[in-house]
């Protein structure tokens, strides 16, 4: 448990999260969330997506900001590189999810973080998406995340932080385990 008198300040409100855990244990229907995005095709492989409201705690939740994202393919694919590629969005999602988890777990364990940076790399044999070899998958062959962490803690405690962040990461779960996707045309 986090010590309320702890001088550790990673910017995560652990008490609020523990309170939410207790409240949602008694009201599991409030734990049912729906996350959303909308995507509009622009031209070629270029699209524009928005992220705004979501559903959770039994109600529609509105945000002050609409987050906007351009996606495209790079020039080596005869596209115009007007945004990151879709697979790079997945890498951003995975790295940011693990990083938020490291901060939350560090706060809970009274470890002061000074800096956390990650590089993430996914290798892909594009013979898959180009349809050259049906034995090659379309997605990543594998992903490697490398953390550099400066914190008031021993190396093994830092490694334990990173391991725990994987255990609680939504995107790590999505990438490492199968998720059912239904696609319909209205």
């Amino acid at each position: 448990m986090a010590d309320p008198a702890s001088p550790v300040k990673n910017g995560v409100n652990v008490e609020a999260l523990l309170g939410a855990r207790e409240a949602l244990t008694k009201a599991p229907e409030a734990a049912q969330f729906k996350w959303r995005a909308a995507c509009e095709w622009k031209d070629g492989t270029y699209s524009h997506s928005t992220v705004e409201g979501f559903f959770g705690l039994g109600a529609e939740q509105h945000r002050k900001t609409t987050f906007m994202f351009d996606a495209d393919h790079p020039e080596v694919f005869a596209s115009e590189d007007r945004g990151a590629t879709p697979v790079e969005y997945v890498l951003v999602g995975l790295a940011s999810c693990l990083t938020a988890g490291i901060a939350a777990v560090a706060q809970h364990r009274n470890i002061q973080l000074r800096s956390v940076t990650a590089t993430i790399e996914g290798n892909m044999d594009i013979q898959g998406i180009l349809g050259i070899d049906s034995d090659v998958r379309n997605g990543f062959g594998g992903i490697k995340v490398s953390y550099k962490i400066d914190a008031d803690a021993k190396k093994e405690d830092i490694e334990a932080l990173v391991a725990q962040s994987q255990k609680r990461s939504a995107v790590y779960d999505i990438v490492t385990n199968p998720t059912n996707v239904t696609v319909e045309v209205r």
Copy 2:
């Protein structure tokens, strides 16, 4: 095969992609790509990520633009909502990947698109990430994508476009099938 004299203009250079397919069939080592992102922790669950170079066609590929992304958690999680959540980045990646695929397949099949919009929703029982119930997964229980497409084609041809885009989508593969992720601390 696309007809070079086709009046269909979806903005996808199908001839270049078919040329790439032929070239990479003869040089499979050039098809080995590495996609990357870098993530820097800012405060709490807030991080800043950048997407810049990648490796492909046997060389480091540089871009004119560095794409930048803020990720955070919303206020209902006692965070400050300074960016989309990591799981919303995954939804943006999936929707934009399928949408780019629809445009490419439509061009290849001589179908003129007028508009393509998608809404995407992932449901999540946050009892997983909060550690309330270990039988609940951390990620999405499931994802639903709903397309609205205006195109010069019959409904069954539009449905076939969408189905083919799933077959060739990198992010659809990443989400629906397991990918190995290695996380190290340097």
